[in-house]
Point group: C2
Chain length 416, copies 2
């Protein structure tokens, strides 16, 4: 048998210690979301390939893991075989497509406004590099069927609540709206078909600065006057916020939507965190139609949560108009950051109960149960001859206490 | 876009109601196992294909979902393309192979006796039929590195504890040992290479009865005398249990192992459940080397948990001798059975808080938080004009209470 002990490239095993912190974080997020009335659903990691390929996933479509057809359906006799002849299934690359499919299928059994919670792994055949994985976890909440700004308020404040429950507090919500972006950029004289590529350059502002944005725009040979108007707009909006948006033909109802959401979040947050209007927040996905938002944590240079309104995606499946909005916590980034900050899972009292070969094992197990009924997590192991060395090892495995079995006199002691 | 709203064939979406009971059951099992000192690990659902294909998985090898190579590695230019040229990854068909790989890779950072807990989905491209899924959950505990019968005792009693915690109590542990099976069948005169196929026939005893077994054995043209000796042995062992095993050349240490385990389990169970020696318990996997066991629940005709000792599998990866033993709860069978029995997840107090469009949404959210701080799970929804109809619907979505927002006077009432 060929021996390869590594997990598949870009994927990870998790040891008990890693799993403990991951499960704790997931559990806090999920219970916060559930208590806030979001409904946990589950969809398979495998989807019919046409649902993945037919989606507006942009670059992600190139990263799909495709699953070979089986049995007679796998036909090599054709000349010019191509990938699409061979695969009928694929691993999902996000949770939004499965959610949309789920909602459309189960619509008649769901509340007309459906508040969904989904936690699961998604798969992308990315070039493997540090901190970028081919299988990673997402925690999404979505509200389907509510076009009002109450949905924005609920998603943002609930995501903030989940982070706060993890003692992640030093964060800021960045907020923008696709309709604002579009109005301003068109108002500067850019054409409709230039919108996406102008956005891609504006998105880099925090990395390359104003002059960098200007020279990249010039490098694309856009009209000089448009560029100069846009540079003025960037400065003006950054200084004056939403107040100046009407001078760029941003519709009044859009401005009042944005201002209402921001004021409501501020009111609700009551100083615990802030929300900022950020005209340079773009978010890549082509499917966003309205508000877009992220949560920036400390000075990490990347966001730990992101989302927005995608009013045209769910309905696409069944030819209806269905408003929808989602907010996704980047679970891997969040956990990696917490580990970096030496985050400790609270209240773990793990005891190792050591016994001699000569002890009655059944009595050892009964003693273990007695300790468990006192709230301890108890592992039973045979005592080794070198007790000190053994105790050091168990310290490393995450135990905090130990006991050497001696019937009724068994005593729980601290390991360190 | 081609519209297919169904999940992939043989796989399932889970609605909030289904997910609630599944999560509750999983949570009880996992927390019982963790409190008993088993260490939760996680491995990817995707494995390198050679680890799957090279395993002793028997029939399961034909059911592997294989993943297409990507980019330049996917080469169609070869003549006579076959499946194995095209796939480099596959979906795991059990949790034991990933566990073995994990243990061998991380051995130096794990206790010498490693008590593992794994919960996850496995994938088999079975012919789809009712109650048989292509993606299903397994909950496994395994003890690696302990060849003593303490491991059997711990796995059996801990699995029983998890079931008991779910109020599943009306069960019996069936126990056998591969070494007993082998000794008795050879003692009757069958040849070594006939062992597996004789086992397959004996396995059917509860379905086809003694006469059925006898005629199937005759149909295979085995020696008449061997068949008649085996039929006598079946009757004798069924009547007299382990006491008569020594008359079939079963080694004394094997008999005393079996008897010790059974006595210890009985002692520990203290009448809450029973353990029975069952010589007709076979369990299909070729990798079992010693004790094998199942848990039979009521008169279901199938087991809800099964396992055994596989002392040669883990070590195979790295050319060492490493004893190992596992017990797996068939999660889907267990959950389906509980649902059939109208199992209710305890202590759910789900409240729907209804508001009018004219209410201040921020005040509604603050009221929702106030109720959450009292322990309720609260969903916020706009009140519809037909309140009675709306309340009926929320009753169906699993809510037990409701409140209509009216500031400080908001009152939580029962839905039914």
């Amino acid at each position: 048998m060929k021996v390869n002990l590594n997990p598949a490239k870009g994927m990870r095993d998790f040891t008990p210690q890693e799993k403990e912190i991951r499960d704790y974080v997931e559990n806090v997020i999920v219970s916060t979301y559930k208590q806030s009335g979001f409904n946990l659903i589950e969809t398979p990691v495998v989807e019919n390939i046409e649902n993945l390929i037919g989606s507006k996933g942009g670059e992600n479509l190139k990263l799909i893991f495709k699953i070979l057809k089986r049995g007679e359906k796998l036909d090599f006799s054709k000349t010019d075989i191509c990938e699409d002849d061979l695969a009928d299934l694929g691993l999902r690359y996000d949770l939004t497509i499965p959610l949309s499919r789920f909602y459309c299928k189960n619509q008649s059994n769901l509340p007309s406004v459906f508040k969904a919670l989904q936690v699961g792994n998604v798969f992308r055949a990315e070039r493997a590099q540090k901190g970028r994985y081919r299988s990673f976890k997402q925690c999404d909440i979505d509200i389907i069927g509510d076009g009002s700004s109450a949905a924005e308020l609920e998603l943002i404040t609930t995501t903030a609540k989940a982070l706060t429950a993890l003692n992640v507090t030093d964060f800021v919500v960045r907020f923008n709206d696709r309709r604002v972006l579009k109005a301003v950029i068109l108002n500067c004289g850019f054409l409709d078909n230039e919108f996406d590529s102008v956005c891609i350059i504006v998105d880099k502002l925090d990395k390359i600065g104003m002059s960098g944005v200007e020279s990249e725009l010039k490098g694309k040979n856009y009209n000089e006057e448009c560029i100069s108007k846009l540079m003025d707009a960037l400065e003006n909006i950054s200084k004056n916020g939403t107040r100046c948006l009407s001078s760029y033909s941003v519709p009044e109802d859009v401005i009042s939507d944005v201002e209402k959401i921001m004021n409501d979040v501020k009111d609700y947050a009551n100083g615990k965190y802030d929300i900022e209007f950020d005209f340079t927040l773009i978010r890549g996905m082509g499917y966003y139609t309205g508000s877009i938002f992220e949560i920036a944590y400390k000075n990490l240079g990347y966001s730990i949560a992101g989302g927005g309104r995608y009013d045209e995606m769910v309905g696409n499946f069944i030819g209806q108009q269905i408003p929808a909005i989602g907010f996704s916590i980047g679970f891997e980034r969040l956990v990696n950051q917490l580990i970096e900050e030496k985050f400790k899972v609270p209240n773990l009292e793990k005891v190792v109960l050591l016994f001699e070969k000569s002890d009655s094992y059944i009595n050892v197990m009964k003693k273990a149960d007695e300790l468990r009924s006192q709230g301890y997590t108890v592992s039973v192991y045979e005592k080794s001859k070198k007790l000190g060395k053994q105790l050091n090892q168990f310290d490393g495995y995450g135990f905090s206490k130990y006991a050497v079995f001696s019937g009724d006199d068994t005593e729980v002691k601290s390991l360190s």
